[in-house]
């Protein structure tokens, strides 16, 4: 398979937007690079930029490996991506409003009604709730890959509680600390205003237009895998980081318990899944949530970001319909490509998938985090046989896609610099008519040779992502 190389073209010439970095890399003594890499490791440990890994010893924390070769995106490419992301996220929010109100798109037959209404992620409790600004996904993490000859594809939309933005910010901070000279030579678009932008968006969706809303970040607690990010964002925004037990609901209003008595809460940036939000409505055994929260939400006394029930729009069974959503709601042609997707619930698709398992990537419809998927070309015979059984037993639980030739980029690994595959997760912020994002996003890189799975839980690392404002350098 041929892979698109982010740094070099097919003739092994360095791409224009990487020229400055490559010159620097060639001119910098390897000992200095080695020293800086060790420095970065120590700094990440000291700052405690770690994540917990599920299934390992409780409370164990691991570093996400950070690579010092940045992922560089020329500004023209970024502008095109940005326009596509705006369009896509706008349509997804309109879709969510629609399915919880008049369901025009279902009536028009664009998406089979049962695909939406029988979806486990569809939350009937949201029907008829008028969320402020008609925004459901205030924060969206869109996973984008580059494949083939260099064209971008959307791999999935994350509309529930997308994480990783703190690594984007810390990676930039680290890069500037280690190699300030690189930033003098390149006009790298800044990203550090993300928390300000986020706070602005959260304040803009306060219930009943409350002028000076109290915003909080709701975390499952210190043992959650993304806890570092929760504390980071709360601190950067200057708002309280609360756990469920810090909140209570009285007369449909949410309060937090403070040393000076109860204080009203207006906007909750929640980093807890729907299922755990309110034991009175969702999972009764959840100790993470707040009893009565949904009642306060329905009464319009508190805004949840993201809204409840967004999962129905990023479910892998709905993903194939996103281009149609864009056409339906916006009357535009999609600017970003979807990956061709086989829906195994369709008999013809299933047959094709079963006949071509060694070439395909099979994903669980409700899966996330790189768990429960089959990468055909990398799988053993036993794994393929196992998935064959799963597919036959429960075809509507799976989709399949061709194995994309993910682009790669030179990356520091044990044996030196080698090519590794990567993806990109921009973070898209919505409120009312405005859809904004900071340039770039989080670049994740699969550190295992040949691996196409970039998730940090599966041994992925990260790179600083540069959108160059001026390519002349």
């Amino acid at each position: 398979m041929n892979f698109y190389n982010e740094m070099y073209d097919a003739q092994c010439g360095v791409r224009a937007h990487y020229k400055g970095y490559e010159d620097w890399l060639k001119a910098t003594p390897p000992e200095r690079i080695e020293r800086k890499r060790a420095e970065a490791d120590l700094a990440f440990h000291r700052v405690g930029i770690t994540f917990a890994v599920y299934g390992e010893e409780a409370g164990k924390e691991r570093l996400i490996p950070f690579d010092i070769i940045p992922r560089v995106i020329p500004s023209a490419e970024w502008k095109a991506l940005q326009a596509g992301l705006r369009q896509r996220v706008k349509a997804l929010n309109m879709f969510l409003w629609d399915v919880y109100h008049d369901q025009e798109i279902l009536k028009a037959g664009i998406i089979p009604a049962e695909q939406v209404l029988n979806n486990a992620q569809y939350r009937p409790i949201m029907k008829g709730i008028d969320v402020p600004g008609r925004i459901y996904a205030h924060i969206t993490g869109v996973d984008i890959v580059r494949a083939g000859a260099g064209e971008f594809y959307v791999l999935e939309d994350n509309l529930r509680v997308p994480s990783g933005v703190s690594y984007m910010l810390e990676d930039r901070k680290m890069m500037m600390r280690l190699f300030p000279e690189l930033f003098a030579r390149h006009k790298v678009a800044p990203v550090q205003h993300y928390p300000d932008l986020l706070l602005e968006k959260l304040r803009a969706v306060s219930p009943n237009g409350i002028g000076n809303p109290t915003v909080v970040v709701l975390t499952p607690g210190a043992y959650n895998s993304a806890y570092f990010e929760h504390t980071f964002l709360a601190q950067q925004m200057g708002v309280e980081l609360v756990e469920g037990r810090d909140l209570f609901v009285k007369d449909d209003v949410v309060y937090m318990r403070t040393t000076q008595g109860p204080q009203r809460v207006d906007v909750i940036y929640r980093r807890i899944d729907d299922d755990f939000l309110d034991p009175q409505v969702f999972r009764a055994d959840s100790a993470l949530g707040v009893p009565g929260l949904m009642q306060a939400y329905r009464a319009g006394n508190v805004t949840l970001a993201n809204a409840v029930g967004t999962g129905v729009a990023d479910d892998k069974s709905i993903y194939p319909y996103v281009p149609d959503m864009i056409r339906f709601y916006l009357g535009e042609e999609p600017k970003l490509n979807n990956v061709p997707t086989y829906m195994c619930r369709k008999p013809d698709d299933l047959k094709y998938v079963l006949d071509h398992l060694p070439e395909l990537v099979v994903k669980e419809v409700h899966g996330a985090g790189g768990y429960g998927m089959l990468v055909g070309p990398a799988a053993t015979k036993e794994q393929i046989a196992h998935f064959r059984q799963l597919l036959i037993a429960k075809p509507d639980g799976y989709i399949a896609q061709p194995t994309l030739a993910l682009s790669n980029c030179p990356t520091f690994v044990e044996e030196g610099i080698a090519l590794r595959h990567l993806d990109l997760r921009p973070f898209v912020l919505s409120s009312g008519e405005c859809v904004n994002m900071v340039p770039g996003g989080l670049t994740r890189v699969a550190l295992t040779k040949g691996s196409l799975v970039v998730n940090s839980s599966q041994g992925g690392g990260t790179k600083d992502t540069w959108v160059l404002e001026d390519e002349s350098c």
């Binding site: 000291r46 700052v47 405690g48 037990r245 810090d246 209570f248 403070t258 040393t259 008595g261």
Partner: protein, 315 residues
């Protein structure tokens, strides 16, 4: 501020202070153990440490003999012993981790690094490098944390709760050490046999040896040691000094339900502010200190009820 946040800050600082005081006590006992003495006397000082922390049972479950090496191992790096320095640092770090967004970056890094270093060393490694050096390190890290707090943290509620934790813990520790040593050194109120080295060690354990010289310019007598550690308002580890800080900070965080706790703190403070050592000794030092420690405990309990435990929903 969130009640839970205040709770974590309060306990973070208590555990740091506890680790430091423990290092001080162990250090002094270790140094004293090198002064020529009978084996019985030496082991008595070591078992005193176990008794001081009410750990007789937990210790007996692990070791049959009380001696320097066992007690050090148990109190320095035993992860199963919740009162060991290792455990105190872990608890301090865990509390900080839960509210790291409230701490300044410098504070968090200081404490996190302390824990990472402490976690990475076995007792054998510590002992090989000289256990005294380790105690110095613990004290230095505690000082660094205190300094970083003073130098970087906004002096709002967070700061007041941190100070409260530090000062309450310190008052309790100083009272405990004094009670214990006074008891051991003067079991029968015997005026004659003052052991200079033992009293000097007690003073050193609270960094008060030079202070004593400066304040009294005279030989060391037990009554003055008691006076210095209880009533001197300027000595940073004295009970009076601690209570000064406690009521000052309590005043700054006052809420609608904290009046009674503030009053109790004020009463205790008044005893120190207007008290005389003669009266205290006449009353019986041991009884007086026991009463003091009870009231410190109640004060901590009051703070917990007024501010830290999630409050009743209605108000």
């Amino acid at each position: 501020m969130l009640s839970r946040t205040a709770d974590h800050l309060f306990w973070m600082s208590r555990y740091i202070e506890r680790a430091e005081n423990l290092a001080r006590l162990l250090d002094v006992t270790y140094q004293m153990s090198m002064v020529p003495q009978s084996e019985e006397a030496a082991n008595q000082s070591w078992s005193a440490i176990i008794a001081l922390n009410s750990l007789e049972e937990a210790y007996a479950a692990k070791y049959s003999a009380v001696n320097g090496e066992n007690v050090l191992k148990f109190m320095v790096s035993d992860a199963d012993n919740f009162s060991s320095i290792h455990s105190c640092l872990r608890m301090a770090r865990e509390n900080a981790h839960a509210v790291r967004g409230t701490l300044t970056t410098e504070m968090w890094e200081t404490l996190n690094f302390t824990w990472l270093e402490a976690r990475g060393r076995t007792f054998e490694q510590l002992n090989a490098g000289g256990i005294g050096e380790y105690f110095e390190w613990v004290k230095t890290r505690s000082s660094l944390m205190r300094g970083t707090t003073l130098g970087t943290l906004l002096q709002d509620e967070a700061y007041h709760f941190i100070r409260l934790g530090t000062l309450l813990e310190r008052a309790d520790n100083t009272a405990r050490i004094l009670d214990f040593k006074y008891h051991v050194l003067r079991p029968h109120g015997d005026e004659g046999a003052t052991d200079f080295y033992q009293w000097a060690a007690l003073l050193r354990s609270v960094s008060a040896f030079e202070v004593y010289r400066k304040v009294y310019r005279d030989v060391i007598t037990p009554d003055r040691v008691a006076e210095l550690l209880i009533l001197n308002k300027d000595m940073p580890r004295s009970l009076h000094f601690c209570l000064n800080g406690v009521i000052k900070n309590l005043d700054l965080i006052a809420n609608r339900q904290s009046g009674e706790t503030l009053r109790q703190g004020g009463l205790l403070h008044a005893q120190l502010h207007y008290g005389r050592i003669g009266d205290i000794l006449e009353h019986g030092l041991h009884e007086w200190l026991e009463d003091f420690m009870d009231r410190i405990y109640l004060l901590g309990d009051g703070i917990s009820k007024d501010f830290l435990v999630p409050m009743a929903e209605a108000s």
